[in-house]
Symmetry: D2
Subunit: 234 residues, 4 copies
């Protein structure tokens, strides 16, 4: 019997970043080079672009991330089509590791209210214990049937059908600053601060927060303008 | 105890199709209108575009499908980013039905050979029985834990973490003839006939075959040229 | 000597439209079907999607336009990459007609202020006469050199190098309601009404206004929600 | 009277390149990591991906170019929508320089044959002289009317209407190795060598050749596999 691994860890590693605030200015000024003296300084220019939703100058940048997260997070991630490239681990070609996501103590597990306006609350002890126990048992059973099938030479792509959406996968995800901001604007929760608040699932929100760190480090002025303009992606 | 439904059915319904061979010609001729007498007839023109990979005239068309299939099929489907629009049932907002995919008697369940060059064979009786039994048991257990959690008011998005990738989902998928051909070229298996043979998973291949039917019906000459040019998407 | 045609006409013909407010609802409800009783009626639902920037349900729609406009309009048009398909008349394959754009009496021809904050004013009579006369003379000379080269069997793609960006071209442009709203949000001018005002060139604004008519006719509730939400594309 | 500049120069400068063959391998192996011993070495793997048209591993790369070319080249360039970002000099915001493209002595100026199957030949001395003279005269006249209008405070976006498509513009263009190969496969001419020969205009072919140099330098094995697989973009 395989020991399955239960974890709440969501991994985001910036593998390569080739992006700076100057990339934005460079792209912007090609449009208007003859009159740069009339424009304000770098921060002002970036803010102008952000505020007026001139998005293209932000595209000439490059972020490559390694991400490890459960499949249900990747399912949402892959709905971001434009300005995103993905290569993900495949259950058709390799045996998936027995590593599964469980909510940690910060993760609300109870949902109240109506669709489109759900609120999430922590849940009581009994509920939290039930979740943990039910998920663990279900994961364990699924993985054992998976291994049993593999031991009988069943094709990986068939055996994995019983594996849950909480099993971990990994991928490389590459984007630019514009497509990253579009992702952040939908996958982070900024209630009051955001002009268009979104209600992402907590797990993809955590992934988004980690990606935002890399963005902020590489492009502090662009990030600042994004925040100041209330997380509206240009 | 809920009775789960086991099925091998993969549903593809063309909901709206607004596409004809004439759409291709119309788009093509805007480029060259002054000299149409020098061009050959419709079939020849479409074949010319296909052979020379002039893809844009095929884009001015519209296919909307309703598709019901297991999540592992949708995972592959959603990697097609360009010229595709999707809206899928969400396990965050509704309780998912207890309907799961199992291979039918035509589905090979054993894989031999090396990655990148797998072959699939039917498997012996024992193997086939094992697959069926293991999947059914695993699905049943997963769904019971799911329902148990829901009965304790656990959030749908949390409870569903234990559900397997073989559970059914449904979506609307909209594309044009060019993005459809790109999909077909990668998700159908045409061994000898295809110039660039691909090795899709059987389940998405079945979905692709059903979509091809709608394509062939709406645009018979375009489909014919696609086949004649060995399934190379323009 | 060829008589050139001077015109201010910008043509937009909806060729095929397969789009309705119901397409949006259908795509939306696949996500949440189990709980539709909790949601409000159609108009409310569309407004909810628009307000919360849930864009994908608007994509399952189809608009094909025929557009005739000068090249400088198409240059801006073709920068809209996502959810747009184009086939345009080609100066490589046919002789271009001697038809050129000139500003009509409503078109401001004088620009004041700084880059990023230009204002346009009508100009005085002398200025307006100068524009008309200069453009006409320049077009006439360019087209005569073009014809002279063609008469010497010079390749069309070489001879056309001298033709101005105001010469007319034509294209088919196909989009969906989401990509159309993205276009409108950037290419229409709605000063006070728009949450993010843009400053499009007048000629593409006129084209956008005509496309908006087809949008409003096919999808009145979606259009209404777009206006109510201050022209922010979802 | 302004002295206009006539040139045949087409400038392509790689500004930033963050791309290597190893990026491809890294993205590929995330799919199959458990079994890398069964795969061949790097060159073999890249060739496998190229031959089987597995395109996504090539996307995790970054090329930013500065390009200076006439507008008629950019018109074709901007039809490449996917995996490409552009920011171009704008005739709305700055006065365009009096720099115009003319064919050099290597550029065939006469076209024979039918649409779809044109051949280009050098042309005789008279023809070549006529082209040069006609273009120069036409450019000169156009630019003088342009300057005359600017001198009367006519808006730049109006005055530029008379400028020819051969006037120079500049842009930043950013892509990845996959979108670059798609561009090269359509915009280079490789008659016998290419599996799907294309017939690009000579000027964009020259631009493409210069971009190919940067590609070859950064990713020699990927470039080699592209050539070996007869310029079929994966």
């Amino acid at each position: 019997m395989t020991n399955i691994i239960l974890t709440s860890e969501l991994t985001v590693k910036p593998i390569k970043v080739e992006a700076s605030d100057n990339d934005v200015i460079q792209a912007m000024l090609v449009s208007t080079l003859g009159e740069i003296d009339d424009l304000e300084a770098t921060q002002g220019r970036i803010n102008f672009l952000m505020k007026n939703r001139h998005g293209t100058p932000f595209e000439h940048t490059y972020f490559k991330f390694y991400i490890a997260a459960p499949i249900f997070v990747f399912r949402e991630f892959h709905r971001h089509r434009i300005g995103w490239s993905y290569n993900e681990e495949s259950g058709r070609y390799k045996q998936l590791d027995p590593k599964f996501y469980v909510p940690d103590s910060d993760r609300e597990v109870v949902q109240i209210g109506k669709p489109g306006a759900y609120e999430y609350v922590p849940g009581n002890d009994l509920q939290r214990t039930s979740v943990r126990r039910a998920l663990e048992m279900s994961y364990q059973v699924s993985y054992e049937y998976y291994e049993m099938m593999l031991s009988k030479d069943i094709a990986k792509e068939v055996a994995r059908m019983c594996l849950p959406v909480a099993i971990y996968s990994s991928m490389y995800a590459t984007c630019n600053a514009r497509s990253l901001m579009a992702f952040l604007s939908l996958r982070q929760r900024h209630d009051e601060e955001a002009l268009f608040p979104s209600k992402p699932m907590k797990e993809i929100n955590i992934v988004a927060d980690k990606m935002e760190e890399a963005f902020k480090t590489a492009m502090p002025m662009t990030h600042g303008a994004f925040v100041r303009n209330r997380y509206v992606a240009p």
